[in-house]
Symmetry: C2
Subunit: 217 residues, 2 copies
Amino acid sequence: MPALPPASERVRLRRGVHNAVYDRHAILAILDAAPVAHVGVMTPDGLLVIPMAFGRTDEHLYLHGAVANGALRAAVDNDVCVTVTLVDGLIVARSPFHNSMRYRSVVVRGVARRVTGEEHVEALRLVVDHVVANWSTGRPPNADELRRTLVVAVPLDEVSAKVREGGPSDEPADLGGPHWAGAVPLRSTWGDPEPSPDLAPGIEPPPAVAALAGVEL
Amino acid sequence: MPALPPASERVRLRRGVHNAVYDRHAILAILDAAPVAHVGVMTPDGLLVIPMAFGRTDEHLYLHGAVANGALRAAVDNDVCVTVTLVDGLIVARSPFHNSMRYRSVVVRGVARRVTGEEHVEALRLVVDHVVANWSTGRPPNADELRRTLVVAVPLDEVSAKVREGGPSDEPADLGGPHWAGAVPLRSTWGDPEPSPDLAPGIEPPPAVAALAGVEL
């Protein structure tokens, strides 16, 4: 059983409770490892789930998009769910009934708020720097670009994680049987930077970008 | 512009329309490459997005879980959204405003239906065999296991994809400037099978499982 209680009943795990993680440090580490989140919003024509880049502070998760982005507009002042998942492998049990995945996932629930002023620019920096810090090594956004970008904040209050590691949990009666059991790891690794074909010669990638090569999620 | 129209207005892309994919063959190929989907459902305490394994025929996408699974129960006879995303890299533009990702994603919208009888067993086989075929090499499910498993089908009717490849699309005024531009590929690759520590000696992984090693998503 987890040592800590969930932050709210809405994020308490009901199934696979032994895989529940309510430790804040562990939850933030999963968010930091994931390149995208899946954002669920209620739109005028029904429920929609869209992959989005994101950033965070200790208090908020930030999402950004064009001002005309329908999913993001639908999120403002409404209850949303932001889910982040890293798949680490396939678990093959003796009985397919007990097949599973190795994964790390986080669920954030809450009401999204439109962000303005200084927090708007800072949130954009956090989204850009989430996978790798490159905000300060690029051309800064101009006023028009900032005006065309919508940023929303979701509080990191109602949040929980679920982590599945290891191998299968088969039925006792199946142990010692003729069927194979184990896992197949899935590794996601950043490669070497690929310069844009129209890049002028002699411009090297920022050190933080170059340092991504070989890093695993 | 895409050559084909979207299957419904609810899945027509409004943003990044040049990255829209409505070709059915291409959409199914993305579904087949992805190990998990993110399933959005409306639950009694609000919108929820949960990662789930899945399978498919040409007509339906199948999701499974315990009969007590709250998200799956909430899906039955209700409008859901099933989104599948593969992240293929980070695109670093000269201006962070034009940063992006390389990705392949599919959005499926529709009403989920509870599956019974022969379709129930066949759907379970499709979910189990989705990443790698191992249903027929494991111990078949018994009546009790089947009874404890809930399967829902979502029609593959309202479906579209979005695919972003290549590198950044910077502002003309930024080309020739001092900032680096390019992409960092992210590769997700299956590794060698890891036998369960309690596996009896001499049992080899099924050929399909062993063949996963080195395969990229």
